[in-house]
Amino acid sequence: MALKNQISKEDFLAVFRDEPINTLLGTNGDNGNGLNFTTIDFPNKTEEEWRHTSINKILQHRFGLGKTVSLDKKTVDLFTIPGLDAYRLVFINGYYNPDLSDEIEKAGKLLVKSSAKVKKEHPEIFNKYYKSTDLGSENFFTTLNTAYATNGSFIYLPDNAVLDKPVHIINFSDGQDSKTISQYRNVFYAGKNSKAQIVNSFHSLTVNYTLTNVATEIIVDENAFLNFNIFQGEGDDAFQMNHTKVFQHRNSNFSSHTITLCGAIVRNDIHIKHLDEGCETNLNGLYLPDREQHFDNHIFVHHAKPHGTSNQIYKGIIDNKASAVFLGKVLVDRDAQKTLAAQSNRNVLLTKYAKVNSKPQLEIYADDVACSHGSTTGQIDKEALFYLQSRGIDRRNAETLLLSAFLSDVIENIQVEPLKILVKLLINKRLKGEKVEGQCSMIEACHGCDPID
């Protein structure tokens, strides 16, 4: 039931089928890999998982494979996180830029590289972990990624490896020449007792229609610690589908921070599976949609083994006619005794048009667990506002203070200190409606945030 001006699935896929592409999957196309687009359709609102997120706006555009764009170091520096000393991997429109990146390859096979390079240089490692988390054909976009992604980031930490600095993966989209689709397939493996921090940031170089489709597979082995940060600051006409799948082994620790500041439609899926006992997972998110933006966070935590812990805390401020979705599901298997799971989603709506759909869910089959969930949606507390005003603080400043305070625990949870400082700064600017050069997107791609009032 295609809507007017909406392109068909065949048209959407044509760009990938017209020319032979050297994909990470190895074969060109979806044949013979269990990926069959005849049975996988665009997500639509009759599916529970997509009930509150329509992709119709995305399907108004015919996206093509973009070109790699030359980029100078000065521009890239605008998007580095001030004070963050990191190994950088830089991609533009899905293409890897080796000149602007710091690859690592160390004895014992510690690797920080592009996925395509690892596939070529270390096929044994690549094949062991790529597609090892059963991330494949959850939906149309993950299938598309599996079938046609050509590159991405690959991080391999051997046992006991501790990365001395975080890895910062910078993904730029640029639709200057044509409406562009970029696909990234990331694979992170953290070996036993290893430890690393990863930041993946997304930015636009120009204000054009782009679609960024990311699939990230993460395997956290025994007793390893992995901290993963997603920073989304693409422009107002940029769509993003971002799917993360995490497999955790015994006593491992995975934490994530998903910070969504800009984008037209942004959909984030984080799916966690505890494969063994004693895993800990902490998932944090904050989102500030403005104008008619739509940000959707879907979380699925599968406690399959005993003594697991998971915490989710997601907070959002929704302005103008923007909308947000939070759907967090915790599944506790019968074997997963002594599970501790907590979920919290809190939202502030700034206007009467702003919308949020929040649905924390627990599905528990074990009988000895402690699980909690909660969701609140409200406006700025008028009594608190009056209290601040009665001390001489004007309304806008008072609102900024209260909203920053509302987000403060999620911000304070961010483990990469320079990222925390940057997020604080950007949110303050966001609430005051000030433009920022770089950090989110190039100023040309930035409409500027509307001040709250």
Partner: protein, 254 residues
């Protein structure tokens, strides 16, 4: 005699259509301490809220002049910067905002209003320290979120601390004594007394005479059913304590 700070004429206010204040007249001069007493529901807290600019009350008639300016036309923040301070009966908890950040924002907007340079961080911390000592507030309290998890006494002390930071011309204490034990009451009253001078004024709103042993008023008003029905010296408070509010009710009905 000092200059007139506050002049209330025929003030009428309603909440959700219900009439609460029914023609208040009151004049407060520099250097004076006024007390407003009255039974529960007489309109004491409404008067405090209307003067501070709480939006849920609607002023239906009357006029309030503060230092020659029309107070009712000002936003709550302007009233504060002009020198009106309300110590809340129930101070609001604000999780995530530290007292230091709160006061930094308030002091900077007060200074900007007066055309003064912003304080440097060290000057600001010095001011905080000085005022904390003045009102005997524990130093560590300032690093906590505003009123979050504070005891009743701590909340009231925090109100007086904010008052010390902002140095208002007119301080309105709305039942600041309620819920305080005698030690906390003494500390709070002491703080208020230290801040008193010949150029500012204090309006103490209370149900009990107890507070007035510590903050001695020049004038005592009795508010009943939205009107000031009796005005006298500090001995009026003692008389009320002795005879109870029924005495006033009877007198008004006669």
């Amino acid at each position: 005699m000092g200059k007139t700070l506050l002049k209330i004429e025929n003030l009428n206010a309603t909440i959700e259509g219900k009439s609460i204040l029914k023609g208040i007249n009151l004049e407060i001069k520099e250097g004076e301490v006024h007390a407003i007493m009255g039974p529960n529901g007489s309109g004491k807290s409404t008067l405090a809220s209307v003067l501070a600019g709480r939006e849920i009350f609607e002023v239906t008639d009357g006029h309030v002049e503060f230092m020659g300016k029309d107070l009712l036309s000002m936003a709550p923040e302007e009233r504060s910067r002009e020198g009106v301070f309300l110590a809340f009966q129930y101070p609001i908890e604000i999780p995530g905002v530290s007292i230091t950040n709160f006061m930094k924002a308030a002091v900077s907007q007060h200074r900007e209003h007066k055309g003064l340079e912003p304080l440097s961080p060290s000057e600001f911390l010095k001011l905080m320290k000085e005022k904390k000592e003045l009102v005997e507030i524990e130093a560590k309290l300032a690093n906590r979120a505003v009123n979050e998890g504070f005891s009743g006494g701590e909340k009231k002390k925090n109100e007086v601390f904010q008052m010390a930071m902002l140095e208002p011309k007119l301080a309105i204490l709305d039942e600041t004594d309620s819920g305080l034990d005698i030690d906390a009451l003494r500390i709070v009253a002491n703080g208020v007394n230290k801040l008193k001078n010949s150029e500012n004024a204090t309006l103490v709103i209370t149900h009990y005479q107890r507070l007035l042993d510590y903050i001695v008023p020049d004038v005592v008003h009795v508010l009943y059913d939205g009107k000031i029905v009796k005005t006298g010296g500090k001995e009026l408070a003692l008389e009320l304590e002795e005879k109870g509010y029924d005495w006033i009710k009877k007198e008004v009905q006669v």
